[in-house]
């Protein structure tokens, strides 16, 4: 052993971790928001589209889901600017990647939710004279959201953890802050203990918040 825990240096540089956590959350929230839009639009389009559109959407979903996120992050940050005339910062690049990545996972979640909406509900909507647009907005989407909420919570928390990959392109989020302290103070065990605790606490706060939302909507049934 011979390793004495000493957290002093961690607290002295705690702003690296705290600022990192806030940036992690920011990256997660923006990417998830864009991902939800991508996922909703493509899922609604998928269930009502013809074969060609379905094949294209399925190709997007399958491709993204079967490739490591770290490779996509490199591809967008180091690869893409060599073929298109675009300049973006590392955080923007990561948000772009995680949005497209989360979109693929969320299409799947929303699509299976849409397909689980009972037919009778849609027929009932038709029977009371709702237009297709109204049926989507007032019948299909609310029912789908209620069905998908548990899967949605898990996906959101998983995406929050995925923000740690941003550290590989030097985005100063929580994992990057932990590495900085690791290399500069060598209080290795301490910094990863604190970082682990920060990820866990944030993740569980998110989980409990989302469970509350789930319970609220289940009660409304």
């Amino acid at each position: 052993m011979g390793y004495a825990l000493n957290f002093n240096l961690i607290w002295r540089h705690f702003d690296k971790l705290w600022g990192g956590l806030l940036l992690s959350l920011e990256l997660a929230v923006i990417s998830i928001a864009i991902g939800v839009v991508i996922g909703l639009v493509l899922a609604v389009w998928y269930v009502s589209a013809g074969r060609v559109v379905r094949a294209v959407i399925a190709a997007y979903v399958e491709f993204i889901r079967n490739v490591p996120l770290i490779l996509l992050v490199y591809l967008v940050f180091y690869g893409l600017p060599t073929v298109v005339d675009l300049a973006y910062s590392a955080p923007t690049s990561f948000v772009l990647t995680l949005s497209v990545y989360s979109g693929a996972y969320l299409v799947e979640v929303f699509r299976s939710g849409l397909e689980a909406v009972p037919r009778g509900q849609l027929d009932a909507g038709k029977a009371i004279g709702l237009t297709p647009w109204q049926r989507l907005l007032h019948v299909r989407l609310p029912t789908m959201l209620r069905i998908t909420l548990p899967a949605l919570s898990n996906t959101f928390i998983s995406l929050f953890k995925d923000t740690s990959i941003a550290s590989v392109i030097s985005v100063p989020e929580l994992t990057f802050g932990a590495q900085w302290i690791n290399f500069n103070t060598f209080r290795i065990v301490e910094v990863y203990l604190v970082t682990t605790a920060m990820y866990l606490v944030t993740g569980y706060i998110m989980l409990f918040g989302l469970r509350l939302v789930e319970r609220r909507f289940r009660a409304a049934r």
């Binding site: 491709f63 490591p68 591809l75 923000t163 740690s164 994992t175 866990l200």
Partner: protein, 216 residues
């Protein structure tokens, strides 16, 4: 451009072999550890159940990357010196084990309690009850999510590149470092990962369909 990539192919193939080797180790080791701990979670005494529950919830609650850095940089500090390859494999195995525990809990939990009690009533020992009654039935619930989880292991293995291990991901980055052909090589890498994982997820789906006719 094409000649440079062709020139790099054997090097990429060697990296790909490392990716497969890491994935295989992680999948096999986590299957053994996960099934043992999963049985502990479902049937074990209270303290063991709590220990496994805390282990699983903690490990699954942190990013794999953080877990990997923790194991790689942290173990030497407490006097355990693992080569980077084994540090990476241990970290990925820890994470996968937690997932296998949950698959097993879900699969075994779906078997009606009466099955276990009936097996007990006809005098089977605990091990016999598991091997002859519970596991054969739980198997079809366990297999599809587990195979799906294998694709996660292959994708997760790309993180070992960050510890300087020359897997497919690292091999691609090194070839790019020499040829500056970033986009073609990243796309090539993505296609290789895709081919492996898509084949696995097709297998998972086929098994799921095969087992779906059985009703309780």
């Amino acid at each position: 451009m094409l000649s440079q990539i062709l020139y790099a192919l054997p090097f990429l193939a060697a990296g790909f072999a490392v990716t497969l080797w890491v994935s295989l180790l992680v999948v096999v080791l986590s299957l053994i550890a996960g099934v043992l701990l999963g049985v502990g979670l479902v049937y074990g005494p209270m303290p063991l159940r709590w220990a496994v529950r805390i282990f699983s919830d903690t490990i699954r609650g942190i990013p794999i990357l953080v877990l990997m850095f923790f194991v790689y940089y942290g173990l030497p500090a407490i006097g355990l010196h693992l080569p980077s390859f084994w540090a990476a494999v241990s970290a990925l195995t820890l994470f996968k084990t937690a997932q296998v525990i949950e698959y097993l809990r879900g699969a075994v939990g779906s078997i009606p309690k009466g099955q276990f009690e009936a097996a007990m009533a006809i005098g089977l020992t605990f091990r016999q009850r598991l091997t002859y009654v519970i596991f054969p039935q739980a198997f079809r619930r366990f297999l599809p999510p587990w195979i799906n989880g294998v694709t996660d292991a292959v994708k997760g293995s790309a993180l070992v590149s960050l510890l300087g291990i020359t897997d497919l991901m690292q091999a691609i980055n090194q070839v790019i470092g020499r040829t500056y052909e970033a986009m073609p090589l990243y796309i090539l890498g993505a296609l290789i990962y895709f081919a492996v994982n898509y084949a696995l997820s097709l297998a998972s789906r086929r098994l799921e369909r095969r087992f779906s006719f059985i009703r309780e």
